[in-house]
C-alpha cells in the first residue's frame, strides 16, 4: 500500500462513498471536471459520472439548501464549500434548516449530509481564503463539527460523517493537505464521530489542539519532552460535541492544560474547553489554563499570516509559564 496525503484520503473516502451508495452525490463549485480547486474531488466525476459529481452554480446558500433538500428526500449529499471564508452566504441555511430540521419535525425529517470546506491559514492565499471560524458552528446545536489532522483520521472521520444520520460540517486543514503521508487502507471503516484522540501520553501537561495546529502542538510536545516535560496531546477532532471525558481524564491527571488553535481567541473553541475545566476540574488545576491562539484580529493577509498563527515558539513560551506556575 502506498502512503497517501490527507487530501488523497479525503478523495478516497468520497470515492468509497460514491462507489458503495448510489444515493451519494458530491457537488459544489468546480468539483466536477476540475476536481476541486485543491483536487479533493479529483477524478471523481470521471469515475462516477456527471450525474453524481456535479458542478453547481456559484451560490453557497443554494449549495447548502440543495443538500438539505436532497438529504431530507433520502439522498446522501456531500457538498463542498470552496473555502471556509465563503461559507457565510450559506449560514442561514445551515443554522436555520440543516441543524434544526430533525428537531423541528420531531424526527420526521432529517438531514444526513456532509458539508466539506477547507479552512485555515498558511498557504499564502488571498484574503478570505484562510479563515478558521469553526467556533461559529460549534455554537449551533444540532450540527456536528469535525476536523481531521492526519490522512487516516481524514478518511475515517469523513466516512463517519457520511454515515451519520445528522448534518456534519467537515473542516479540512488545507495547510496540511499534502504535508503528511500515511498508509490508509480503503476499507470503508469509519472512526467514531464524537471522540477525541489521545495521540501522545505524558503526565505533566495536557496539550489540546486540532487540525493543522496539531503539527506545531506535537513539535512543541517533543521539545518539551527534551526538557523533561511529558505531555498528553489530544487531537480534539470532534469540535462539536466536545469529548470532555477524554479531556477531563487527562487534565485531572496532569493538572496543567494548554489549548492551541488558529482561530481568534475570543469566542474560540478553546474558551469552551477552558470554561468546562474551570467548572468541572477546578480542584485539579495546578496552573492557569492557557490558550495559544490567533489574535483577536482579522486573519491578516499572507504577509503577516505566520505571525498570526500559533508557532512552536509561541506554544513553548506559554508552556514555560504554565510549567513554572506553582
Amino acid at each position: 500500500m502506498t502512503a497517501i496525503t490527507l487530501i488523497q484520503a479525503i478523495n478516497q473516502a468520497m470515492a468509497y462513498a460514491l462507489k458503495h451508495d448510489p444515493d451519494t452525490l458530491v457537488f459544489g463549485e468546480d468539483v466536477g471536471h476540475n476536481g476541486g480547486v485543491f483536487r479533493a474531488t479529483d477524478t471523481l466525476q470521471e469515475r462516477f459520472g456527471k450525474e453524481r459529481v456535479v458542478d453547481t452554480p456559484l451560490a453557497e446558500s443554494m449549495i447548502a439548501g440543495m443538500a438539505i433538500g436532497m438529504a431530507s428526500y433520502g439522498l446522501k449529499p456531500i457538498a463542498e464549500f470552496q473555502f471556509m471564508g465563503f461559507i457565510y452566504p450559506a449560514f442561514n441555511q445551515i443554522v436555520s434548516h440543516a441543524a434544526r430540521l430533525r428537531n423541528r419535525t420531531r424526527g420526521r425529517l432529517h438531514c444526513p449530509l456532509v458539508f466539506r470546506a477547507p479552512y485555515g491559514g498558511g498557504i499564502h492565499a488571498p484574503e478570505h481564503h484562510s479563515e478558521s471560524t469553526e467556533a461559529l458552528f460549534a455554537h449551533i446545536p444540532g450540527l456536528r463539527v469535525v476536523i481531521p489532522s492526519t490522512p487516516a483520521r481524514a478518511y475515517g472521520l469523513l466516512l463517519a460523517a457520511w454515515q451519520d444520520p445528522d448534518p456534519v460540517l467537515f473542516l479540512e486543514p488545507k495547510r496540511i493537505y499534502r504535508a503528511l503521508k500515511q498508509e490508509v487502507p480503503d476499507d470503508g471503516k469509519a472512526l467514531p464521530l464524537d471522540k477525541a484522540f489521545l495521540v501522545r501520553e505524558g503526565k505533566d501537561l495536557t496539550l489540546i489542539s486540532w487540525g493543522a495546529c496539531m503539527q506545531e502542538t506535537l513539535q512543541a510536545a517533543q521539545s518539551l519532552s527534551q526538557q523533561g516535560v511529558e505531555s498528553d496531546v489530544i487531537d480534539l477532532a470532534s469540535i462539536s460535541p466536545i469529548d470532555m471525558e477524554t479531556i477531563l481524564n487527562s487534565v485531572t491527571k496532569t493538572g496543567r492544560c494548554m489549548i492551541v488553535h488558529e482561530a481568534a481567541r475570543q469566542g474560540g473553541v478553546g474558551a469552551d474547553i477552558a470554561a468546562r475545566l474551570a467548572e468541572e476540574a477546578l480542584c485539579y488545576l495546578r496552573a492557569p489554563v492557557v490558550r495559544v491562539t490567533g489574535y483577536d484580529t482579522t486573519m491578516p493577509y499572507m504577509a503577516l499570516e505566520k505571525q498570526y498563527m500559533p508557532s512552536v515558539q509561541r506554544i513553548l513560551k506559554h508552556a514555560q509559564t504554565v510549567m513554572e506556575f506553582a
Binding site: 439548501g65 428526500y73 441555511q93 436555520s96 451519520d164 464524537d194
Partner: protein
C-alpha cells in the same frame, strides 16, 4: 432606457409575461373552463376555501383568547393555497411558507396539527396523516424554502422520478437572494420545481411598490431563464389550472415554472400585526370586492343552485369540524423538557444526555 441613445442596437432576446384567468371579479367566465372544473370539483374547491377561512378564524380566535401563539391567517387568499393543493399529486412534495393552510389541509395536515404548531409545539410538524411524509413544515425564515425545494427537485430528477416539488412564498420573499438562487439552479438543471408566489401586495406593512420596481412578480423568472406566468390569484380555477399545467410540464422534464398569483391580503399580517395602522382604505375596499370566496359563491349561486341553506349547512359543518380540531389541540398533553433534547440528534451525544438529566432535575 439606455437604448434610447442614437445608436443601432441589435435585439438579442424578447420575453413576454402572460396572465391566466377563467373567472373575473364579477364571477363571469372569461373563457371556457378547463376540463377539471366539473360541478363537483367547483363545489369541492369552494368547500376547501371555506374550510380554510373557518380554520383561520378559529386560530385567530384561539390566539385572541390566549390559547394559541401568533398566527398568520390567509383571509382573501384562500384561492391560492386551495388551488395549489388541489393541483398537486400525493407523490409531489410541498414546501410551504406560513400562509398555505388551504394547501396543507389537502396534504393531510389537520387543523389540530396547525394549531399545535402555532400553539408553540414542534409536534405540530409530525403530521401523522401526511399524504407525503417528505412534505416540509412551514418555513419561517423568508425565502429559505426555495433552496431546499430545489434540492428535493434535484433529488427527484436524479432518481428519475416523475413527480415534482411545489414551493410557495409571498411577493416579499422575491426580494431575498435565496429566491433567485433557487430559481437559477432549477433553470440550469431543468428541475421539476414549481414556485408559486402569493402576491398579496403587502409584506407586513411594506406595500408591493416599495418591495420592487418590477412590473410583475412573474417576470422575475426571466433572470433565471425560467418560464413564468401570472394568474388571477382570486380565481381558484386559474390557480388550480396554472399549477396543474406547471406540474405536468415539470413531471415531463419540461423544467421549472414561476407562477405569480395576484391577490390581496384582507387581514392583519399575523395576529401580532395591526393592519389598520397602515392599510390603504381605498385599495382594501376594492380588494374586498375581488375576494375569491364571494366570487365563487356568486358563481355557484348563479349556475349551480347554491343558496343560503346550503351555505349555512356547509359553514356549520366546517365550523363544527374546526371546533373539534381546536378541542383536540387544547386537550393535547403539553411537551415536556425531554422533548427539547430528544430530537436534536439521531444519537444523542453523551454530553447532551447529561444535560437532559440535569435539566430534569431543575439545573
Amino acid at each position: 432606457m439606455i437604448t434610447s441613445a442614437p445608436y443601432q442596437f441589435s435585439e438579442l432576446a424578447q420575453f413576454h409575461v402572460h396572465r391566466l384567468q377563467f373567472m373575473n371579479e364579477q364571477s363571469e367566465l372569461t373563457q371556457a373552463l378547463p376540463a377539471f372544473a366539473t360541478d363537483e370539483t367547483l363545489l369541492e374547491l369552494y368547500r376547501l376555501m371555506c374550510f380554510t377561512r373557518s380554520g383561520d378564524e378559529k386560530a385567530v380566535n384561539l390566539q385572541r383568547t390566549g390559547q394559541c401563539g401568533t398566527y398568520p391567517a390567509s383571509t382573501g387568499q384562500e384561492a391560492i393555497s386551495t388551488g395549489i393543493g388541489h393541483a398537486m399529486a400525493d407523490s409531489d412534495v410541498f414546501c410551504p411558507y406560513y400562509r398555505d393552510q388551504g394547501t396543507l389541509l389537502q396534504r393531510g395536515v389537520r387543523w389540530e396539527d396547525i394549531y399545535t404548531y402555532w400553539g408553540g409545539d414542534e409536534a405540530g410538524n409530525l403530521i401523522p396523516e401526511a399524504v407525503n411524509t417528505h412534505d416540509f413544515p412551514v418555513s419561517v425564515p423568508i425565502a429559505s424554502q426555495f433552496q431546499y425545494a430545489a434540492g428535493i427537485a434535484f433529488a427527484m430528477a436524479y432518481r428519475g422520478e416523475s413527480n415534482a416539488v411545489v414551493a410557495t412564498g409571498g411577493e416579499g420573499s422575491t426580494s431575498e437572494g435565496d429566491f433567485h438562487e433557487a430559481l437559477n439552479l432549477a433553470g440550469t438543471h431543468q428541475l421539476p420545481l414549481v414556485v408559486v408566489i402569493n402576491n398579496n401586495q403587502w409584506a407586513i406593512s411594506v406595500p408591493r411598490d416599495s418591495q420592487t420596481s418590477s412590473q410583475t412578480i412573474a417576470q422575475k423568472g426571466i433572470a433565471a431563464g425560467v418560464d413564468c406566468l401570472q394568474v388571477d390569484g382570486n380565481d381558484v380555477i386559474a390557480v388550480r389550472e396554472a399549477v396543474a399545467l406547471a406540474l405536468e410540464k415539470a413531471r415531463s422534464k419540461g423544467g421549472p415554472t414561476l407562477i405569480e398569483a395576484l391577490s390581496y391580503r384582507l387581514c392583519d399580517h399575523t395576529t401580532a400585526d395591526d393592519f389598520s395602522r397602515y392599510a390603504d382604505e381605498a385599495h382594501l375596499k376594492a380588494a374586498k370586492e375581488h375576494e375569491p370566496i364571494a366570487r365563487m359563491r356568486r358563481y355557484l349561486t348563479e349556475h349551480h343552485q347554491w343558496n343560503d341553506d346550503k351555505e349555512n349547512a356547509l359553514l356549520s359543518d366546517l365550523n363544527s369540524h374546526v371546533q373539534e380540531a381546536a378541542q383536540t389541540y387544547l386537550n393535547r398533553s403539553k411537551p415536556k423538557i425531554d422533548d427539547m433534547f430528544n430530537h436534536m440528534y439521531a444519537h444523542l451525544p453523551k454530553e447532551l444526555e447529561e444535560q437532559r438529566e440535569l435539566a430534569k432535575e431543575g439545573y
